[in-house]
């Protein structure tokens, strides 16, 4: 599996994503600078966590307009697999590859802690190695992770099996609608999620629950 990680100014989980990808897949990803207009020919594009452009406008709003994102959008429409983690999820929503938006956390505070999640959809290239309904723990680390969309959109996401991760009952750290932590696009080749699977790929870091996500991709994308 060949992969690329897009580096925006003030991305800060780009290196973590690269380490996790290399650990699980055995291959180093390409690191692609946001100003580059073309993403190399890869099986997976990762939009990492961080504060692209300082997130001084809305989170992800500036990054969604970058050169690199133009090509990401094009490639995603052609079916290339795209994974957006945290700030990457925000960029995916801002670029309309995913519906809805991420608002300020309900508690109004940046929150970093391990949260219990339920894998609610395993019919995806991102989650095929999980068991349906499996309970996992990933850390969240965000100030704007409160997923919101209109009811029709939420109904559709649920009806089409596009809600992949949900915060477990009582664990919703940011007020996200219907406990949504991660969603797929219609074609199911784009996943955005707020929690950080790349931070739980090593037993020393308090868990390996995130590995199966990367292993799923490896199995699905070769």
């Amino acid at each position: 599996m060949k992969s690329a990680v897009v580096v925006f100014p003030a991305s800060n989980c780009d290196r973590d994503a690269a380490v996790a990808l290399e650990q699980v897949t055995g291959n180093k990803p390409h690191m692609v600078w946001h100003a580059d207009s073309e993403i190399p020919d890869v099986d997976l594009i990762v939009l990492p966590g961080g504060f692209a452009y300082g997130d001084y406008l809305r989170s992800g709003a500036m990054a969604a307009l970058s050169n690199a994102m133009r090509d990401v959008i094009e490639k995603a429409q052609k079916g290339v697999t795209v994974l957006g983690i945290c700030n990457g999820f925000q960029v995916l929503c801002e670029s309309r590859l995913l519906p809805g938006a991420l608002m300020r956390n309900a508690g109004l505070k940046f929150t970093c802690r391990g949260v219990g999640l339920e894998v609610t959809e395993t019919q995806s290239v991102f989650t095929r190695k999980y068991d349906s309904g499996q309970r996992v723990t990933f850390p969240v680390a965000n100030g704007e992770g409160n997923y919101t969309a209109d009811d029709d959109t939420l109904d559709r996401l649920e009806g089409e099996g596009r809600v992949v991760f949900r915060y477990a009952e009582g664990e919703n750290p940011n007020g996200s609608a219907r406990n949504i932590a991660g969603i797929l696009n219609e074609k199911r080749n784009v996943l955005g999620l707020m929690p950080h699977p790349e931070r739980v790929c090593d037993p020393l870091l308090g868990g390996t629950d995130g590995r199966a996500l990367f292993e799923s991709l490896l199995e699905g994308l070769g």
């Binding site: 100014p9 003030a10 991305s11 800060n12 989980c13 290196r15 973590d16 380490v19 996790a20 100003a35 966590g49 961080g50 504060f51 452009y53 300082g54 997130d55 001084y56 505070k109 940046f110 929150t111 970093c112 802690r113 850390p139 680390a141 100030g143 950080h196 790349e198 931070r199 790929c201 090593d202 020393l204 870091l205 308090g206």
Partner: protein, 750 residues
């Protein structure tokens, strides 16, 4: 407000610059003429307490600063230690107290930004942040606002930088009502053969300015940090700088990219006193001169004067000296990161700092006048008598404590929910503590541990000081701060290597405060020598007084240690339901200055617990060896609150219950369970290994006691005293902070 270069210099102007008439006379003598206003501004910041250490320099010299593993001691932007395999650890702690009191969010944020620049200017990638925070009493009308702003500021900056904030301290005490302390520590990692320093050697090398543009923010910050506060201090808000972590993140990456080349001769961040101190210090260390042309400085505002530019403390800026001809290569890197880049001067062989603006020479000062000629004072000092009493005895006897509440489980619950002892989760969950995916011990343990990426090595990091001990006895209290840092690093299984000290005190011109400072430095020196734990850098923050009221003496110690294999790291969490619990170190029942006396008896009385450094070393070395050998994985040092508090923390962290009883010949439960005797560690280990370890400890002449065992029930039981469910203790421990922060906001008028 802009300052005209031509404003006449009167004694009033000299005073406004924080200089004494004698100091001004010395400036005239050094220059052989009257200074210009720009020159006066330059002298005022370089000779400020903050930059010159004029009150403390003669004492700081007494600190031990060397060891075979020390690569760089005090005097550079940060200290450097060798951690093997060609890796170095670079770290420093610095205060941002005064700005944080005036504008807590920006003050704390720029404190974080400043200390990160100190570390990455030396070639290191920052890998962990810590902070030591002291606030006024919780019911003071400003405290909640300050806690909220400081915590958000630290998080806002550090989270965006993508450097995990892995721990620290938060205390409350009325002495900080008007002077909070915000001390931030940054730990970075570099290759030992790629360390950058600030000596601007050689003549004819281009001096380049990179980062943000210069504005009028922070003018005179260093001078502000060198004076007492008064009622009108909030009018100084315009001198607080505004942080931009986004630009700093770009600056970090751009600097590291440039550092991968060999284009740099010297580099230094523009921190306190901005362009002035960076250029003067670089020329001083390089034995050269520097000529600056201010017309080329990237400027954010129109009509800035030379005075404004030389004294601005705009953030996220660096000054570098390059090898000639390498400007283009460097510029390309900084442009890629969308940062300003300008060649603003050249190094010379004149040993003078020459500043030009609009064709005029506005300053021309011999460099040595700003550095070694800066005043240094042997200020008169007076050591006051230390507090005495409540020291405990070998055989514990009843004391005045026995008259009060004897329900020790209720006292435990009260202590665990007190402002200083309650869980800090509310604070550290606002910090991204797991970014970089190398945090192997998150906040809440004895020391934070971050893995050295791509290896099994770990760095253990802690910040410690018990200001109430330092108030009772400035010398023993300072010793204790070092010993506790050493112990916390030991308790996770790391070898303590070096410290950075952040000396927060009141007005050094008062002999009794100067006495606290001298005793504090002596105590740190004594402990660091005995524990082989040199001081490789630090910062002094003096004049922490408002309306004549000083803070508790607060010499915060930031310690770093190294462990060879993070897989063997110990944590405080109980792990098995049938472990034996033993205590290394002697419990004499020292209640003086204890949390018990303060929270239950409502008195800050007695002597602080004395530290026997030889015993510290012996006990700590023994515990560390057990961890390194993989024989013990559960350890907690005993500090604030004593044995029972430490046991409760271990039970809560692992969600495993335990039962303990008074051991030995002692019978008095309060001093036994709440005394704060030093050099102690609690260990939990499989019962079958216990006897060997007890025998070995005794063989080494180490005091050791079997205290009890863990059990399947989720309760904390004290033999003959009763038990309490862990859920109840957890609620007590976890609820104080969020409840306090959520409670009715007292309106703050500003």
């Amino acid at each position: 407000m802009t300052h005209q270069n031509s404003r006449p210099i009167t004694l009033e102007v000299v005073r406004e610059h924080g200089l004494s008439p004698e100091e001004y006379g010395r400036i005239q003598q050094l220059l052989g003429r009257e200074p210009s206003l720009v020159e006066l501004g330059i002298f005022s910041v370089m000779w400020s307490e903050h930059c010159s250490y004029k009150s403390t320099r003669v004492h700081l010299r007494k600190l031990p600063t060397t060891a075979p593993w020390v690569i760089q001691g005090p005097g550079e932007n940060a200290g450097v230690i060798d951690i093997g395999d060609g890796d170095s650890c670079i770290f420093k702690m610095e205060s941002h107290n005064h700005p944080s009191f005036i504008e807590p969010y920006q003050g704390a944020a720029t404190g974080v930004g400043g200390i990160m620049r100190d570390v990455f200017t030396m070639g290191a990638r920052p890998i962990a942040m810590m902070n030591a925070l002291r606030f006024g009493e919780p019911d003071h009308p400003k405290t909640r606002h300050l806690v909220d702003g400081v915590v958000r500021g630290i998080g806002g900056y550090g989270n965006c930088m993508g450097v995990p904030t892995v721990g620290g301290e938060v205390n409350f005490h009325r002495s900080y009502n008007g002077n909070i302390l915000v001390n931030a520590m940054c730990v970075g990692l570099a290759r030992t053969d790629k360390i950058f320093k600030s000596a601007a050697k050689g003549a004819g090398n281009p001096v380049v300015y990179v980062g943000s543009k210069t504005g009028r923010d922070g003018i005179h910050g260093a001078t502000m940090a060198s004076a007492e506060f008064s009622e009108d201090s909030e009018e100084k808000r315009p001198t607080v700088q505004v942080g931009d972590p986004f630009t700093e993140k770009l600056l970090l990456e751009a600097c590291l990219e440039l550092m991968a080349t060999d284009a740099i001769v010297a580099i230094q961040d523009m921190g306190a006193a901005g362009l002035t101190s960076s250029s003067a210090e670089m020329a001083d260390k390089g034995g050269s001169g520097i000529e600056l042309d201010l017309d080329r400085v990237p400027q954010r505002e129109a009509e800035m004067t030379a005075y404004d530019m030389m004294l601005s403390e705009s953030q996220e800026r660096m000054l570098a000296v390059l090898k000639p001809g390498r400007e283009g290569e460097a510029e390309r890197i900084f442009r890629k990161w969308e940062l300003d880049f300008a060649v603003i001067g050249v190094t010379t062989d004149t040993h003078r700092l020459v500043v030009k603006h609009k064709g005029d020479v506005v300053a021309d000062i011999p460099v040595h006048a700003l550095s070694e000629e800066a005043p240094r004072y042997e200020r008169p000092y007076q050591k006051r008598p230390v507090a005495i009493g409540l020291t405990g005895e070998t055989k514990i006897v009843p004391g005045p404590y026995s008259l009060a509440n004897r329900d020790i489980l209720r006292s435990l619950s009260t202590i665990l929910s007190s402002p200083d002892m309650a869980s800090r989760r509310w604070v550290w969950e606002q910090y991204d503590h797991t970014v970089m995916a190398d945090t192997v011990q998150i906040p809440g343990g004895d020391a934070a541990v971050v893995r050295v990426r791509g290896t099994n090595k770990g760095l253990a990091i802690t910040t410690d000081v018990s200001p109430r001990y330092c108030k009772a006895d400035p010398y023993e209290g300072a010793k204790q701060a070092v010993a506790e840092a050493w112990r916390n690093i030991t308790a996770v299984g790391a070898r303590p290597l070096a410290v950075t000290d952040n000396l927060n005190y009141g007005n050094p011109e008062k002999p009794e405060i100067m006495g606290e400072i001298v005793a504090g430095v002596d105590g740190i020196g004594e402990a660091c020598r005995a524990l082989d734990f040199p001081v490789i850098g630090g910062n002094c923050s003096l004049y922490n007084e408002t309306n004549g009221e000083g803070i508790l003496p607060t010499p915060a110690i930031g310690g770093v240690g190294l462990m060879a294999d993070v897989h063997r790291m110990a944590t405080i969490a109980l792990k098995r339901a049938s472990d034996a619990i033993i205590v290394i170190g002697e419990t004499r029942g020292h209640l003086g200055q204890s949390i018990f006396m303060r929270e239950i008896q409502h008195t800050e009385a007695g002597a602080c617990p004395p530290v026997d450094l030889a015993t510290e070393k012996k006990n700590g070395d023994f515990v560390r060896k057990l961890i390194e050998d993989g024989r013990v994985d559960t350890v907690h040092d005993v500090s604030d609150g004593g044995l029972l508090v430490a046991l409760a923390e271990m039970a809560l962290a692992g969600n495993i219950g335990l039962e303990v009883g008074i051991a030995g010949e002692t019978t008095e439960s309060i001093p036994f369970f709440f005394g704060e005797d030093q050099a102690r560690y609690i260990l939990a280990l499989p019962a079958e290994r216990t006897q060997d370890i007890l025998d070995e400890a005794r063989g080494h002449g180490i005091f050791v006691t079997a205290l009890g065992k863990t059990h399947a029930a989720k309760t904390l039981r004290v033999t003959d005293e009763g038990e309490i469910p862990l859920s109840q203790l957890r609620t007590a421990h976890e609820s104080w902070f969020p409840n306090y922060m959520a409670s009715e906001e007292v309106p703050v008028t500003n």
